[in-house]
């Protein structure tokens, strides 16, 4: 579970999908980084991820970690977005039986977890079938 400052630092990524596009080679880093993993360059321009894509893989988590105990079972997947970036997120608003490799999904703003009833609420993105 993140601390308040760790959560706050990732807000531009979790709320607005802000990424960094390498000026030299075009690689899109999400989250943004200091060094481009594709070419080693260090200059990036701001970019936003595409808001949809298709699932490359998925699973249903039945034995959850804290603080997701009450949410299980839930589906998680990796989707290749329409801009080529691969993203990991939960897959919600559909029956498990309908989740397949190749399913088209879009991103939606949802609550991920919270630090108990009195703690910070953690928001972010999830996949919803298109």
């Amino acid at each position: 579970m993140p601390t308040p400052s760790r959560y706050w630092r990732e807000i531009p990524q979790r709320y607005r999908m802000e990424a960094g596009k390498c000026k030299a080679c075009g690689f899109i880093a999400f989250p943004p980084r200091v060094v481009c993993p594709a070419c080693g360059a260090r200059e990036f321009i701001p970019a936003k991820l595409a808001d949809g894509g298709k699932l490359l893989t998925y699973t249903i988590i039945r034995v959850p970690p804290q603080p997701f105990e009450d949410q299980a079972p839930y589906a998680v997947g990796i989707a290749e977005l329409d801009d080529g970036v691969k993203l990991t997120a939960q897959v919600v608003d559909c029956d498990f039986a309908d989740i397949k490799v190749g399913l088209r999904v879009r991103l939606e703003f949802r609550k991920l977890s919270e630090d108990g009833e009195a703690g910070v609420i953690y928001y972010g993105y999830k996949f919803v079938p298109e």
Binding site: P37, T59, V63
Partner: protein, 384 residues
């Protein structure tokens, strides 16, 4: 670089060791290795442990374990690379002896995992994944490997039954290992009917939560010969890293770090894969063993499932994999696993593996992996 030999090994029974603390488990195991080696002086200690901080609130293991062993002021280090912490500790020990920095090095691995609840343990293990972009979304290690399995099954037609066969084979081997956590056989049906953890992986596809330790004593090969000990050399050592997050990998169904680490180890040893008589690999989940056999090059990419079905990796197969029982039957006290792999191979190469003995074993390969393949360490052992 000097040739490095292993002259002592130690391992105690693994399982849920309620009465034993991390200190006790490690110390008892290390003493076995020291006694087996017959040495008095230890120049240095390297300990692999993934997460004593999260499991028992204890860091600074270097000092703690040197103290418990009664060996202060010996220099000591604790190394961590998630589930390959043990293999990494062996690598660091190897480098110390090979470089001439130390003569006799104690390499140990230990993990005490049962002092927290299952949920807390899952969380601690999850710290090997990307906290902000995988764990934040509710992923667990079974979940990550399940996604690798789905990708592998979708692309290559690997079946649920083939995954189960890995567990069955490893239990068959583990039933001959008195130190294993689960020294009994299981059936494919039992695997297929066990409770789901992260589809399609079931509880019997997953290595367990275990308390345990393993230890080896390293020294220059010349010293080993002078001591008239059976000389088992570490002939090769390779390590490689890969992206942290599974989503960042080029290929979700391939273990590139293992492929590279194995290549490096074989090159250092001047050996080909086919010259290995046995393999101890990182079957944290059944799919992992299948993917490792492909990454090592035992089989063509995508054929790992077929291979286990055809018995290629059985005890009497062409490439015996996990004669010890693997992580699945032997247990997986995270930091200890990489060292335990070395213990098994050394015993095999000495002809001391009892019912598990691979006849005429002269060379073995150990592959230890962290996270979803973010780090891999491979060692090659040869009997003289």
């Amino acid at each position: 670089m000097r040739d490095v030999a292993i002259i002592g090994v130690g391992m105690t029974k693994w399982g849920e060791l309620w009465e034993k603390s991390l200190r006790t488990i490690f110390t008892e195991t290390a003493l076995l290795a020291i006694a087996d080696a017959g040495v008095d002086k230890i120049d240095s200690m390297v300990v692999g442990c993934m997460s004593s901080g999260l499991f028992i609130g204890q860091e600074h293991l270097s000092s703690l374990l040197a103290d418990e062993l009664g060996r202060t002021p010996v220099p000591a280090a604790r190394v961590e690379s998630a589930c390959s912490s043990g293999g990494l500790a062996l690598r660091q020990g190897f480098i110390e002896v090979a470089s001439g920095m130390s003569d006799v090095v104690l390499v140990g691995g230990v993990e005490k995992m049962t002092d927290v609840t299952g949920c807390e343990a899952t969380y601690a293990l999850g710290t090997a994944a990307d906290q902000e972009y995988e764990s934040y979304h509710g992923l667990t290690f079974p979940g990550l490997y399940a996604m690798m399995a789905v990708a592998h099954m979708h692309r290559y037609g690997t079946t649920r039954e083939q995954l189960a066969m890995v567990a069955v084979k490893n239990h068959d081997n583990g039933s001959r290992n008195p130190l294993a956590q689960f020294p009994f056989k299981i059936t494919v049906d039992a695997v297929l009917n066990s409770v789901l953890v992260a589809d399609p992986l079931r509880i019997l596809d997953c290595s367990p939560i275990t308390d345990g330790a393993a230890a080896v004593i390293l020294c220059p090969a010349d010293m080993a010969r002078k001591l008239k000990k059976p000389v088992v050399r570490i002939a090769g050592c390779g390590q490689a890293t890969d992206t942290m997050a599974l989503a960042s990998r080029k290929d979700l169904a391939w273990l590139e770090s293992t492929h590279i680490a194995a290549g490096k180890a074989l090159a250092m040893a001047g050996r080909k894969l086919e010259e290995m008589d046995l393999f101890e690999v990182h079957d944290c989940f059944t799919i992992a063993e299948i993917m490792v056999t492909e990454a090592l090059g035992l089989v063509e990419k995508g054929r790992g499932g077929k291979a286990v079905e055809e018995g290629l990796t059985a005890r009497d197969g062409r490439f015996p994999v996990n004669p010890s029982g693997g992580l699945k039957a032997k247990g997986h006290p995270v930091g200890a696993t990489g060292v335990a792999q070395a213990v098994e191979i050394v015993k095999q190469l000495r002809g001391q593996a009892g019912d598990r003995q691979i006849k005429g074993a002269k060379r073995g390969l150990a592959q230890n992996m962290g996270g979803t393949g973010g780090s891999s360490v491979v060692h090659i052992f040869e009997a003289e």
